[in-house]
Point group: C2
Amino acid sequence: MKRHLPPLNALRVFEVAAKSESFSKAAEALFVTQSAVSKQIRLLEKHLGTVLFERNGGVVTLTNEGRQYLSVISQALDIVETGSEKFYSHQEKEILTINITPSLSALWMFSRVEEFHHLHPDIVLHINSADDDIDWSKSQVDISIRCLPRDKKNTDAELLLAEKLLLIASPQHLEEIPINSVADLQRYQCISLNNRPHLWHDFFEQYQLDKTGVVSSFGCEHFYMVIQAALKHLGIGFVPDFLCHDLIQEQKLINPLTIELNSDYGYYLVTPPHKKEQEKVIRFTEWIKKTLY
Amino acid sequence: MKRHLPPLNALRVFEVAAKSESFSKAAEALFVTQSAVSKQIRLLEKHLGTVLFERNGGVVTLTNEGRQYLSVISQALDIVETGSEKFYSHQEKEILTINITPSLSALWMFSRVEEFHHLHPDIVLHINSADDDIDWSKSQVDISIRCLPRDKKNTDAELLLAEKLLLIASPQHLEEIPINSVADLQRYQCISLNNRPHLWHDFFEQYQLDKTGVVSSFGCEHFYMVIQAALKHLGIGFVPDFLCHDLIQEQKLINPLTIELNSDYGYYLVTPPHKKEQEKVIRFTEWIKKTLY
DNA sequence: TGACATGATGAAAAAAACTCATAGTGTTAC
DNA sequence: GTAACACTATGAGTTTTTTTCATCATGTCA
């Protein structure tokens, strides 16, 4: 009568890993590391006393036992899922409306929404973007994220992140005009940002360089346009680190001379006081702070 | 395609709790505390957004949703169990033979074997009991537990527990002959233990009492017999704390004046050196040390 | 009404899961 | 043939989850 069951959480991992026959892919799907998947599979294999995957350096393949087991486990998980689903549908999902600056939404937020949804499946995110102040009394928005000057104290605004700007350029562009010292920067088109007119000026002043080259042929409205422009080899620009981090990793952009600029801006989370206590607002706030860490 | 599953370990708890409609019973069956069960159920309920049990102070009853869910979950767990079982049967079970003193086996070990089996289902325990030394070369025994004098240093023996003896008597017997001071003890039959002839003598000497009453009408071979005798109101006796703890809790025995005696004996775990590295031996050793803690 | 059994709950401890950093190993491209 | 790469394994350390412990609250039953 007493059951002898395998570690149940390992089954969920097993199913994903077995379906993709890849621990790395499974890890990504489950929002954990490959290491975690590897260990859960090993745990399950040890429990069952059976090898479920054949390892061949870098490639894992289901064994016959593994294949059999997958079908059993999938069946069981199907039942659990179906049986649980009808309860979920009765839960009404909460809608959390966030309003973020266009740069954030385009490059940063969209790649992280999936994770938020994974962690909080009962919250539906409505994301819209704008740059101006929100009239909380008229708007549905629960949370807004804004880039504001650091010194402008706003009691409702919580600092998420101090802005750190990185100098960026495309690798191809850098080959055309090599950069060996800061002075070489003057040979480039400097992509400017419309609402930060002093940015380049201040930068060159800091390095005591001639500001002749500063006037760029065009200005962008938002950081993500600066990135697009840089990717098209149109010049060098300054963009926040978190927006270009992945592109630098992938070598689609380069941070020449690893030049950084601590701007006087920060990213702030703004919530109207009467919504601060709402669970959905708290959960989002905690999630984004952790994600930014 | 991506699954939305409840916390799977909570399902195992839920099934047991639902079948017995009691968190306490479920806790016992699962070898955890009632608190742990309560929390796992709450977790599951929160996840599903559904109340699975109706609480009525001290009594839990499945709701309709809970009943439905139980049948779903049982079905799923059946599939997992059946699908996993065929692997277990291929694992050959290890046999671990332990030899313990009769007192330990009768009163202590047998009530704990179930827990060991729960934690290590792949090990089959063979318990036999004896009091003499074991010829490791001739015997199948993997581990023996012996009560030995503390000063007798034995390199193969690991101290599990220093023996602490408690004075015991039955409640009925104590009503007949009330004990208000140590001197009253002299009015009792002192149940003696054959292989500890000095026990009572030393005790009365320690309290500087007359030893007249010390000669008891009979001696027991083992501690569990002392307990039996005390339960039958035949006198007072000294027995190890761990053997009478439960009986004292249940008020079937009483520890008058809370008199304790730190004997010079200890319980030792003895393993032949060539078996010390075996996993089954290590697992048992760690389990028993933790259980005794 | 008081002893009792049961469930709930907050804080602390223990266990499990996960991450990080890095090693090892086939595969692929030059 | 070898260097770069993509993938899994693993030990140490950290984080998260689960469990325990101690205690409270509540309904039951004599």
